[in-house]
């Protein structure tokens, strides 16, 4: 029984151009203490998935199908009040911008104590003790002193650490992190990602890491889901997916990374760009950019097949694996 089981999730945004489907039958699961990566380009639907789990979709977006099972409850059908009790307690969220979480006019300490007391029936002193302990765990120097600081007195990296400390306050079962280090420098990114990795392991917390960066995913997560235009195109064990990608999109993304090829050589680019939700082509959404596309790719959406040890949504997946596709 996984900790979180998302089945056939469908999210739609009714607009005046018609109903836009941001997520098409997306399924993934996270086991207790497991780290899952959701990878995709901007607009692929990765953040929508996170917001849907937490019931934080911005209007007019809504879940129109599927289930989000978390600890025996379907989050898609929960009332707002029940959802609020889970959000920030059993499931925490970390955003790219720490100021989404932090209130600029309150001290770090006040925010942490208030967050904790909103979910636990404990004394101020006890809440303070836990808050200081968490700040220490995220390696903030002199945590007692930092409790009195305001967010603007901290650097970007420090703020993100505070946000992680807040996310851990209630000992959640799952943390959803949406591009947590994208705005940070590489050295700070490495510090913070390795810190999150450690903390998830020591606390037994599940992690959903949403990012566009396959390299970070490969070094942090155990399983990965690749989204393209609102659909899962490939998923499986991270090591298997990054070492033996099958879907032409995943292959393209990996071989387009400048760090991997011969210096100075042309990079293997994927032509074109991901279509906006208003203009998703029929058939496989990737076919106009795909080097392997055939006539049948243009008609039906291929199913997500289990091939070898991972799931791939590609009509020609088996040929690609055998290396016979031209």
């Amino acid at each position: 029984m996984p900790l979180l089981d998302v089945r056939d999730l469908r999210v739609e945004f009714p607009t005046r151009h018609g109903v836009l489907t941001a997520l098409h039958d997306v399924s993934f699961s996270v086991d207790k203490g497991e780290r899952l990566g959701i990878v995709g380009e901007s607009g692929a639907g990765k953040s929508v998935a996170a917001f849907a789990i937490l019931n934080l979709l911005s209007r007019p977006g809504r879940i129109t199908g599927g289930r989000i099972l978390f600890e025996d409850r379907d989050l898609a059908t929960l009332s707002r009040a029940d959802m609020r009790a889970i959000r920030g307690d059993r499931i925490s969220m970390i955003f790219q911008d720490p100021m989404m979480t932090l209130n600029p006019v309150l001290t770090i300490g006040t925010q942490m104590v208030e967050t904790l007391k909103a979910h636990r029936d404990i004394s101020d002193a006890e809440a303070r003790r836990i808050a200081i302990q968490r700040l220490g765990e995220v390696k903030i120097p002199s945590p007692e002193k930092r409790m009195a600081s305001y967010p603007h007195e901290l650097s970007g990296g420090m703020r993100q650490r505070v946000v992680i400390a807040i996310a851990l306050l209630t000992e959640p079962a799952l943390i959803i992190a949406d591009e947590p280090t994208t705005a940070l420098d590489v050295t700070i990114q490495a510090e913070i990602m390795s810190l999150m990795l450690d903390l998830c392991r020591t606390h037994g917390v599940g992690l959903i890491l949403i990012t566009h960066d396959l390299a970070v995913v490969s070094q942090v997560t155990q399983r990965v889901v690749v989204l393209y235009a609102g659909r899962v195109v490939e998923s499986g064990q991270t090591a298997r997916v990054v070492q033996n990608p099958v879907h032409p999109y995943t292959r393209g993304l990996l071989s387009a990374l400048p760090g991997e090829g011969e210096p100075g050589a042309r990079l293997n680019q994927i032509r074109g760009s991901m279509p906006p939700l208003t203009a998703i082509p029929p058939g496989c959404a990737f076919h106009p950019r795909c080097d392997y596309a055939e006539e049948r790719c243009r008609v039906g959406v291929p199913p997500l097949d289990v091939i070898e040890d991972h799931n791939v949504r590609c009509t020609r997946a088996r040929e690609l694996i055998r290396g016979v596709a031209a």
Binding site: L214, P258, G259, G264, I270
Partner: protein, 348 residues
Amino acid sequence: MSGHTQTAAAPAASGTTAPAAVADRPLVEVDGLIKHFDLGGHFLQRERPTVKAINDVSLGIRRGEAFCLVGESGCGKSTLARIVMGLLDPTGGAIRFDGTRIDGLKHTARKPFHRRMQMIFQNPYASLNPRRTVQKTLEEPLRFHFPNLSDADVKTKVEQVMVSVGNDPSWGTRYPHEFSGGQRQRISIARALMVDPDFVVADEPISALDVSIQAQVLNVMMDTQEARDLTYLFITHDLSVVRHFGTRVGVMYLGTLCELADTATLFENPRHPYTRILLSAIPRISTEEMKPPGLPGEVPSAMNLPSGCVFHDRCPLANARCSAEVPRAQCQADGTLVACHAVEEGRG
């Protein structure tokens, strides 16, 4: 780091270079560059707060190379690029282009250099004027620098450049918002190439783009370099891009140049402790778990620089000398310049 000790990078600075070296002279020379931003403060403050963004940086960019400048945010790499392009005035030091000093030139005197030096910007959503058609945007530099061209010639030239960067010439009548980030960035590149520059500064040109698009733009930049014999100054925080794209690379930290080396040398044999840490922190496709890079603390404020070597309080190899004395760039056997006492003394 002093400009004068760094003769390998800026030979013309002292005027002692032999005439034979003229052909080898770097296309762009940055000599002892200093840039301080005055934050104003109020009139009662005795010492006005100053951000010391660039502190005595010297480097030379050779003809036909792709010189990369890397570093983390606030290291001064973009400021340096903007000073080279004349978008900011230096506080001290000199910029030379093809032997002519160009910093502080009057507007009209600078005009020929505007033609020869162009720039590509980071944000493809802000670098094109939203109210002008692509055609107008592309024609502007051409009509400004070549006012005698006929309309037909201008049109032909725009088409030719658009095609050369992989754009459809029929895009001309459309507005920037109708294009994706990658397409806009290629339009920006086309604009920079309209006047056939010798030198192009690219300030983080791919960092705002999606992964699958980054490769497209990098390829266009590499193709044009080959076709036009361009010299690039490429500003980036992404070392994987440097490894792929750069011929030489300068690593900056807090307004100083730590290390300057051939790209291959730098990746094989990083010398400066900061370069080593930076290299170890690049995320790469790997099944190994991410490890902390071992860089304690945070980048100090550029308003209050550490004494001696600006990196000393975070450096694993620092000793008393590092906190007292500013290290000078030392030329290594393979031509690499390193500004580090520890490397000089063979510590660590």
